[in-house]
């Protein structure tokens, strides 16, 4: 005998359109009620002096019985002769949209209820929109309470026409519309004599025709690393194959970071040994060459890598109590990756029940609770992802605000560059074309990986002094180091640039690109630039692999710098001879989260250098080289 097949369905719709009543009745009509349950509830109703409601079958919790609305997603099981069903009863009240989303996101098919008498309502439309966004493609619409509309075919047709038109605008094609009266069981498990004009299927027939979702085993491989285990002296990368298949001998690329290795074994416990694992399987793998890979890395076949970018467009629905807005930092979780992120721009905020663009009185732009938006996100480090239309599990994400998941989003297809195509993309799109000598090879030869030590601070804070001293120390330690000095670069590479914010940004961008090349060549590249804007420093950070950009805040009070005034620039700027001088007539934005901060008014140069060396030792030179 085969194990019992299950299909997960969610029941959605506007509040009071009869979802819970429908579920109760469906249970009864398919003979799925536990013995004595109906009688028990009838007795309780009698004792309380209220009429028995089918809805009470689901509403087991006290608070719900009192309010008569479903607050949370509840799940129960019932069966037809064909298979078992898990019913997810989702609340219809707008207040509880996060519960509806929770329920619907876990379903394989949806039944959407509409009150024949009231017709299409706000949440009928909102739920339709969200089902689509959540990726539910198998949908049937039940036009309920036909008894209150005299079982009128005309009324049924009117509701169907109106709702079908709306669904079409959002790209949803329901399988069928069925006229029902949940309270009386019409067309639920058997055809109703009250609707002789209806020749279509019953609800149960429709359910039995839905298909159980299968994981996408024929798409490109995506195997996100969930954790790295060191049991029994072996290094096992644990994870679930989200799409495609993985085989022993497969050459894998891990994104972001572009490390490569080959699958040595596929690990399972107490299961037949197999050299292949398909989408949906939670397994472990070992590699032939050890590379440093952590949770979050997405492994794929070298020929079919995911996108790897720090900027992308998304369609987001928001459930948080606080609005989703620009200028605030959030955390993005996509497969097993996590990255700090913020909104770069909001293209459009949409009311999902009307599709109208939301206009705010004061012209402010943010995404409020229960709204949907099209926007561009920027992550602090590159993220590996796919378009939702290509690979679903890596094409969607959630946003965490503080302690809570506050929203979800999908990434529509767009013209993003692939890592493997050409080399002419914009610098913010991080990817790399590889030679035969890899970063790891160089790191092994040199005894350290390349990186960028970015000194930032006011003129006169001590950047160049520290940079040259650090370079000397590293050289004496046998490391490959080189200082990119601001003044030197302005003599040649950037001699065409001035000091406007725009030129400063371009100056930093070019220096960042050069520093990145030095780092890729295996050199510890030390830069000494005022680099006053956080945004510009972040730009360089994003050019480099995680952990390879070390931001050092060379911090001395303005008064101290001005007093030192090694180059006489403060005096000249005070005399208005130098325009846009940082700290005097142009702003300096102190780093928000530098890897190292040096108070040069309190520390000697040697102490500053030691602190940077300490940081390198702890965070890069030892742990990163694990070959």
């Amino acid at each position: 005998m085969l194990p019992t097949e299950q299909l997960k369905i969610v029941i959605v719709g506007h509040v009071d359109h009869g979802k819970s009543t429908f579920v109760g009745r469906l249970f009864h009509d398919t003979g799925s009620l536990p013995e004595g349950k109906l009688e028990q509830l009838q007795r309780i109703a009698e004792r309380r002096g209220v009429p028995f409601e089918w809805a009470n079958l689901m509403d087991a919790l006290q608070s719900e019985r009192d309010q008569n609305i479903t607050i949370d997603t509840a799940q129960i099981w019932f069966h037809t002769p064909k298979r078992q069903y898990v019913i997810i009863d989702a609340p219809g009240h707008k207040e509880f949209l996060k519960n509806m989303v929770t329920g619907a996101a876990n379903a394989e098919a949806a039944l959407l209820l509409i009150d024949a008498h009231e017709g299409v309502q706000e949440n009928s439309r909102r739920h339709g929109y969200l089902l689509n966004l959540l990726g539910i493609r198998q949908i049937a619409v039940l036009v309920n309470k036909m008894d209150l509309a005299d079982y009128s075919q005309a009324r049924f047709d009117a509701v169907e026409t109106e709702y079908r038109a709306w669904l079409k605008t959002i790209g949803v094609e329901p399988k069928v519309f069925i006229p029902i009266a949940a309270k009386h069981g019409d067309n639920i498990a058997s055809p109703s004599p009250n609707t002789p004009w209806w020749t279509g299927p019953t609800v149960v027939q429709t359910l039995d025709e839905f298909r159980v979702a299968e994981p996408p085993k024929d798409q490109p491989l995506r195997f996100p690393i969930q954790d790295v285990y060191r049991f029994d002296e072996r290094r096992i990368l644990g994870g679930r194959v989200e799409s495609g298949r993985i085989r022993v001998g497969d050459r894998l690329v891990f994104s972001p970071g572009n490390k490569t290795s080959t699958v040595k074994t596929i690990e399972r416990w107490n299961a037949p040994s197999h050299d292949e694992a398909l989408a949906g399987e939670s397994i472990g793998i070992t590699l032939t060459e050890q590379v440093f890979v952590e949770r979050g890395a997405v492994s794929a076949r070298e020929t079919e890598p995911p996108y790897e970018l720090s900027r992308f467009q998304a369609r987001v629905f928001w459930l948080g109590k606080q609005p989703f807005r620009k200028g605030r930092r959030y955390r993005l979780k996509l497969a097993t990756q996590e990255a700090d992120c913020e909104i770069e721009s909001i293209e459009k905020v949409i009311d999902a029940s009307t599709l109208a663009a939301v206009q705010r009185a004061n012209g402010e732009i943010y995404v409020a609770r229960h709204e949907v938006a099209e926007l561009t996100l920027r992550t602090r480090k590159p993220v590996a992802f796919d378009a939702i239309s290509e690979i679903v599990p890596t094409g969607r994400f959630v946003i965490v605000d503080g302690f809570d998941v506050a929203g979800g989003g999908i990434i529509p297809a767009a013209d993003y560059p692939r890592r493997t195509v050409g080399g002419d993309q914009k610098s913010e799109n991080i990817f790399w074309s590889h030679g035969k000598v890899t970063h790891d090879h160089r790191a092994r030869r040199n005894g350290h990986p390349g990186c960028v030590i970015w000194l930032t601070g006011l003129s006169g804070a001590g950047k160049s002094t520290i940079a040259t001293e650090l370079e000397r120390e590293l050289f004496n330690l046998g490391k490959h180091a080189y200082v990119l000095d601001g003044d030197n670069v302005r003599h040649g590479l950037n001699s065409d640039l001035g000091f406007s914010p725009r030129d400063r940004k371009e100056n930093i961008r070019r220096v960042g690109e050069v520093a990145k090349l030095f780092a890729d060549a295996g050199v510890i590249c030390i830069t000494a630039f005022i680099s006053p804007y956080q945004e510009n420093r972040d730009l360089v950070r994003e050019m480099l692999p995680p952990g390879r950009f070390i931001e050092v805040f060379v911090n001395a009070p303005l008064a101290v710098c001005e007093q030192r005034d090694v180059k006489g620039l403060y005096a000249r700027s005070r005399a208005n001879e130098v325009k846009e001088f940082t700290g005097v007539s142009a702003p300096y934005e102190p780093p928000l989260a530098p890897e190292v901060e040096l108070r040069t008014d309190q520390l000697r140069v040697a102490e500053c250098v030691t602190r940077i060396l300490d940081h390198l030792h702890l965070h890069d030179l030892d742990t990163e080289v694990m070959i």
Partner: protein, 270 residues
Amino acid sequence: MDYLSKLENQSIYIFREAFNKFEHLAMLWSIGKDSTVLLWLARKAFFGHVPFPLVHVDTTYKIPSMIEYRDRLCREWNLQLVVGRNEAALREGRTFPNGRATRVECCGLLKKDALKTVLDQHGFNGVIVGVRRDEEPTRAKERYFSPRDKNMEWNVEDQPPELWDQFKTDFDKGAHIRIHPLLHWTELNVWEYIERENIPVIPLYFANERGERYRSLGCFPCTSPISSQARTVREIIEELRHTRTPERAGRAQDKESEDAFEKLRRDGYM
């Protein structure tokens, strides 16, 4: 992929998320079929290892063969066991069998309070529990990762959204998260899996000569066997395919009042 494998893979995924995200993780083990399947799934997830301690809340009223079975598996599977007891309540005799507490109060003292003490003592902030949605209605509303505040209370009206296998793993100091890797399994699935994997379960589940077996295990004063002729796992599966009696019908504490169990769970019961 067959249905049991789907359930298994999802549970393994949840175990691994929990192990990655919680530094102080423990798993409740009630010796019953569910928590034994849970234990088996943990070994699946971690390649034969159970990399966190098991907590057994001992009321001292468990059916004696349960304790023997527990100690045997601990030896054979090399498990770390932490036993929690409400010594004060036991010393003072504030228990239902002593006639000095109702059934529900007794559960509250010997299970819920004992659990809170053992969590506090060891500083566990993630606790894996083998509850299933199909067991009874309040459990149907659970999340896979379900927060409890510092008083162990469950705010069922305001639960975090849970979608696309992204779980709640960030929380306030003092709170803890209950992790439910078996939430989506049914009683039938559990037995089908026991059969497929050949998992050793305690013999109390099989019918004895008197034609009785336990369908759900607990403390002997509040748990009664059902009449059944099912003597093998296969026969239990057959029986469950046709029964319309609820699983916890033999658990007396659920029935003290209409919402007794619901209140107990809000206060932190498993």
